[in-house]
Symmetry: C2
Subunit: 213 residues, 2 copies
């Protein structure tokens, strides 16, 4: 059986590595799927964890994106006004089966006009910004609205991808992938969302992120 599902992942300098790798670790295991990572200019692309990803495809080489995956990261701000990238997102979204974002990848979907009138989410530090794009910000980990799926910050991409896998390939496949990556999370602290974290931890994260701007 040949490939029947192509997954296109937009990559840019200073993309968040876990935004990419979390969901791709899940989606790459869907039978008969292939992942293509594409950027405006191919070559090595820096991530937030001091390792570069080798990107082989330019945007024009992506013929088809059954799943269009847009990750986030500090590099989002450098592409959010890049008309070529936004036009590519709009174009691929027209024919995608699913258009999904992780973390601040939602800002790019918003900038491309895709979130207008939709329920959506993103990293908690910029959730309200989604309203600027005409979206309805949701305090949820994964939001499915029609064919657009957005999720919360960074690690939420794993949960999103498992949900997406169950929608595409059924629960049995999604469960097998979850077990294959032994995703039985046991975070040491109960502070992974702003609703659960004390104010001093929230303030600390906001100060760190501000310092990086």
């Amino acid at each position: 059986m040949g490939v029947f599902m192509e997954i296109a992942v937009l990559i840019f300098d200073n993309v968040n590595a876990l935004d990419v790798v979390g969901p791709c670790e899940v989606l790459s295991k869907i039978p008969n799927s292939v992942i293509k990572y594409a950027s405006k200019e191919p070559g090595p692309k820096q991530t937030d964890i001091a390792v570069k990803l080798v990107i082989e495809y330019n945007l024009e080489q992506i013929q088809k994106a059954d799943i269009l995956l847009i990750p986030g990261g500090s590099g989002v701000k450098s592409v959010t006004y890049d008309r070529d990238v936004l036009d590519w997102i709009i174009d691929k979204h027209k024919t995608s089966t699913w258009t999904v974002s992780v973390c601040t990848g939602a800002i790019l979907l918003g900038s491309a006009g895709i979130l207008k009138g939709l329920k959506a989410t993103t990293h908690w530090t910029c959730l309200q910004k989604l309203a600027d794009f005409g979206a309805m910000p949701q305090k949820e980990r994964v939001v499915v609205d029609g064919k657009v799926i957005t999720c919360a910050g960074v690690s939420a991409g794993i949960d999103m991808a498992l949900i997406l896998t169950s929608l595409i390939a059924g629960e049995t496949t999604a469960k097998a992938i979850q077990l294959a990556i032994e995703y039985d999370p046991a975070p040491p602290f109960g502070v992974g969302s702003p609703d659960k974290a004390p104010k001093e931890i929230i303030d600390l994260v906001i100060r760190k992120l501000e310092a990086h701007k």
Copy 2:
């Protein structure tokens, strides 16, 4: 303040991407830390998710590894008899503050003789193999035995790294990093460990992994 903690990550072809990126997404955020990815021969290294990582350091260039991080993946079997790599692990382990593995990275620690007499864990499909190295296999997500930390499959590296961060930099820093990556996991199914998954899902994963051997 200069860098006070160097983190060395062993990379090899067909390393599991999430084994690397999960913990590095956490550890890279420890103040005054630097991560160096090293392989026997530098250059682009293939991962399991069809994207290559650009590795800049060879093993000899790693002077110091306060944290020695050994990921797993299908490529483990090609380095498990590589004397140069095992000797490097043994050498760096002598002076490391922490030696840690993710998933089947524990097989490499075992092959290097580091797990002898220690409690340890790895991906559930090869947990009992750790006994061959003189280790005491533990059905736990993260196992700390002295300065050696091992963890379960793939996604467990995130939990491991948060625990390690709290040991190195304190709970406040670990909590802030957990909130920064919004690690408030919500897996769609309760089947992430073999104790929780039905037999048909376990069998399906084992069959898939066998097919890849």
